[in-house]
Amino acid sequence: MSSSFDLPDGLVAVVKRDCATCELVAPLLAELAAADEPFVAFTQDDPTFPADADWVIDDIELGVSWHHDIETVPTLIKVTAGGETERIVGWDKARWQDFLGDRWKTIETVAAALPEFRPGCGSISVDPDKTAALAVKYDNASLASRRVEFAAAEDDIEAMFDRGWSDGLPLVPPTEARVMAMLEGTSRAGAEVVAIVPPNLAEATVEKVAINAVMAGCRPEYLPVVIAGLEAICTDEFNMHGVLATTMSVGPVFVVNGPIRHEIGMNSGINVLGHGNRANSTIGRAVQLVVRNVGGGAPGGVDRSTQGNPGKLGLCFAEDEEGSFWTSYAEERGFDPSVSTVTAYCGEGPRIIIDQLSRTPESLTRLLAKAMLATNSPRMAIGMDAMFVISPEHMARYRDADWDKARFREVLDEELMIDADSIQRGREGMAEGFPELPEGTRVPKFNPKTGLQIVHAGGPAGLFSSVIGGWLTGEGGSVPVTKEVRP
């Protein structure tokens, strides 16, 4: 198919006046144009440069430059039968000679006076201020989603609230330019289906995820993490439908591991479970917006949560792997530290565990267990798990005593064994409790070995850790799911 952006057969140059190297080679281009063989030059900024002549073609709209991925000027391209066969960039006398072959003779005399080498300049078509607008101008047909036009008198933010797309906070308008810029964050095609999203079991394409990521306030480089998070919750194991529909006040909690944490500037330190970091605050929010807008899962609809929790806006944080004495959460789950991952865990809001006096791991572990025994309900055991977010200062107790993660788990698991009799229904005047079991039966608070998720995060000071209570575990509920973050 031919378009106005096709290159003519022969030799083609792309230049701009605002480039010393283009100015340098301008006399050579004039020599090439004067010769018999076909030659044209596309100019990006001045239609009279390199010359006010019919072989100079105006590309100030940058359509040719954009369609042919010009990154540097000058670029020389050989075109045969409508197709590019070879290109060189900048000025390099030896390479030009090699590239031009017989045509070198045309410019040899003029070229003799030129230096051996000058690097090229950036093409205007790759100017960061221009790429989004160019993508919209020349490639917006690649976006499949319906366009929604707001009236001139409508306020964009209010218009999005009115259409029911918001989680209660303002949204960034997902314009074509913003969505195309967002899609630059992934190598996946916009039409690729990422997940089937509950409760409506609707297909979420990369494009739909990108739109919701824009609305959530994400930067393009967060998109692969958003996609991985969505993939994680849209699995039978995680059971997002059940997590939405339950009256228990839980939601997905996302933990990020691996190099991507630093690449996108995630927080794993001070206020890690709170606000203040854009990646932490927007990635989980983007996933939740996909559930709402694509999957149709909104509070009062399929989301029946009795009280909800603030984390349902999108609780997402990074593990502090470098400051940890223990193997990372992702490593424990079978992923190499060089791999970036997102783990989705179904949890309530974080609650603090205070221990400012323990100086031995034994004492601290006992205290932590005591606090964890109260998660969900002090009268419940097995059935529901928890995530333990250990702070650096609490971690120091284990580092000092050389307790690795396995040793901690072993001792903690023992501390988390409950005498079933003590939590039986009706005990101490409380109806809630465990069914009657044979005397002397001991039950674990969590599923031993796998039930407690352990993550290291938090600021350097403070003898406080957190526990995030879980929901029904196992096949009949939700189990944590880890997905690799793929570019």
């Binding site: 976006l143 989603s145 319906r146 366009r147 929604v148 036009e149 707001f150 009236a151 001139a152 964009d156 999005m160 797309w165 308008p173 997902p174 314009t175 074509e176 969505v179 999203v197 409760p199 409506n200 609707a202 297909e203 979420a204 494009e207 739909k208 739109i211 919701n212 609305m215 059971n239 439908h241 059940g242 339950t246 917006l289 807008n293 694509v294 999957g295 149709g296 029904l472 096949e475 009949g476 509920g477 939700s478």
Partner: protein, 91 residues
């Protein structure tokens, strides 16, 4: 004027008319779906007795877990075999 992209799945849910309310339950087959919450069976046993007294045939069904939607095969079986269905929540 701002133009934005639709963040939704862009589908319109088809509107389906409800089945007409039966004049009587006599001779009909009624499915009772236990969602597997504790003591749901206590409630459903009572309902079954009442329905049987009204002349209905009762089929009992059970979801594997209350925390997940009923499997599609189970839903199909109920839709095929029953004229009406009652889903029970209990705790």
């Amino acid at each position: 004027m701002t133009t934005i992209l639709d963040p939704s799945d862009e589908t319109t849910v088809p509107h389906r008319e409800r089945q007409p309310r039966p004049e009587s339950l006599g001779g009909l087959t009624v499915g009772l779906l236990d969602i597997s919450k504790p003591r749901g069976d206590v409630f459903l046993n009572q309902v079954e007795q009442r329905l049987t007294a009204l002349g209905a045939t009762v089929n009992r069904y059970r979801k594997p877990t209350f925390a997940k939607p009923a499997p599609v095969d189970l839903r199909h079986e109920i839709a095929t075999a029953c004229d009406a269905v009652i889903e029970a929540l209990a705790d």
